[in-house]
Subunit: 271 residues, 2 copies
């Protein structure tokens, strides 16, 4: 049976998350429904990252096998015709039999967007965490850099998780955009980003793997530093504590994007 | 009684439009509800433009009077605290007794966004019309320029409208952004605009007044030219015909934004 890998983008606002659940509409469920219509039998979809309710993706990767072979471009068109506009298949290619989007992944990158102004643009409220009160992006950057390397990230794992090890390797952790900490509440809507700098602070992190809610707990901790409630070095102490109760709160889901997943050279990176 | 003018931005996707209606949630209705809670009596809100269901605003202007005077910054905060995040009051100031946001307006500016790529980004589908198949932005620009001046715009008025005159003056009509007519369907989500050009064609029009559905009928007509179904000069013939049946179809609401409204010098422009 032919195996396929697809790359997806989605606006997660109106869904219960990636994973199929008994109640509510999931991304996985909608794509499995579309695949069932195409292949005329049940198809199981495997994803690279189980994004939570409200979390978005720019380059989620998923795989499945079909009984009937389809050209990749026809597969993209057929899936997009059956999916809501909030979920788009960007590309498809054939995948080796042993490919698994999660277990074969080499690195994943997440982006977290913070709106740091008095009022959040109505066109950003689905896609950013609104933090009012000035944030020190320089202090946040210095704290973010302390996470690079192989560490035990137990302090940033949501309680009740059950994984073999809480050790992960972070290869990049940085504030990549820091708009002016503007006190104005005027904004230009979609397309305005080229013209006027907006009060956005954007954090990006790349790692070999992530624990449940890890990025959101890191962001909640970075914001404590940005607010000046804690010094930069506190990030190192939180990490060393391996205690979730020490870290900052979990940032809300709407600011989080799974940017992309990379694989070994035999599976050229897609996002 | 003190009179106020407010400037508003909203994402119109989930509302029945500006105007209060018997069925469905309107922008006007939500703001009047918030004002009633503040002033402890019914308050009537007047708007500069009655945007339709799904149409957005970056700088809508509205006015009302209260029985109890409030400082303008307190008014902004109190309204935003009561309104959903999809509707934001950007500013408030005191307005003269004879101020009416529609009748006092000197000019209004609208923007229409077209996504001209194979698949529309999930982060754009609420804010742009998806037109696949290449559009010639240069031809659209040449056709758009033919509308500048004082003309009878009856050809672009939705049927069944009842207005004293269909003559209006357009002072600017242009394609202001034309991204590459990309055939790729990769996109970067919010914040990506600075990094990679997206397949967006953006039309902006400023005039002393607009007929019902006029901007959307103009855009539907421009797209006929962009597709190459009609020559540039056809725009002039449509205008001269004063016949709605000759013009192109009405473009869908999701691409339309009320950008701003300007007033005379005694009422400094707000958006």
């Amino acid at each position: 049976m032919p195996g396929y890998r697809i790359t997806l983008a989605y606006d997660g606002t109106d869904y219960v998350g990636w994973q199929r659940q008994a109640n509510g509409v999931s991304i996985q469920g909608l794509i499995e429904d579309a695949l069932r219509a195409l292949d005329e039998r049940d198809v199981t979809l495997h994803g690279a990252g189980r994004t939570d309710a409200g979390v978005h993706a720019l380059g989620q990767v998923a795989s499945f096998t079909l009984h009937r072979a389809l050209p990749c471009d026809a597969l993209v068109r057929a899936l997009n015709a059956r999916l809501p506009a909030a979920i788009r298949v960007l590309s498809a290619d054939e995948a080796p039999a042993d490919f698994h989007p999660r277990f074969s992944a080499r690195e994943k990158t997440y982006r977290y967007r913070i709106w740091n102004g008095d009022a959040i643009s109505p066109f950003e409220c689905r896609y950013a965490w609104h933090v009012s009160g000035a944030l020190d992006a320089g202090a946040m950057q210095a704290a973010a850099a302390l996470l690079v390397g192989r560490h035990d990230f137990a302090a940033f794992q949501s309680t009740g998780s059950d994984v073999a090890t809480t050790e992960r390797e972070i290869v990049a952790s940085a504030i990549v955009t820091a708009g002016p900490p503007s006190r104005t509440i005027r904004f230009g809507g979609p397309g305005a980003a080229e013209r006027a700098p907006e009060p956005l602070i954007i954090y990006e992190v790349t790692g070999t793997g992530f624990l449940r809610h890890m990025v959101r707990a890191i962001v909640g901790t970075l914001v404590e530093v940005g607010r000046g409630r804690q010094p930069i070095e506190w990030m190192g102490r939180v990490l060393a504590s391996r205690d979730r109760a020490i870290a900052g709160p979990t940032a809300p889901p709407e600011g989080l994007f799974l940017v992309g997943v990379t694989y070994g050279e035999s599976l050229a990176a897609n996002p």
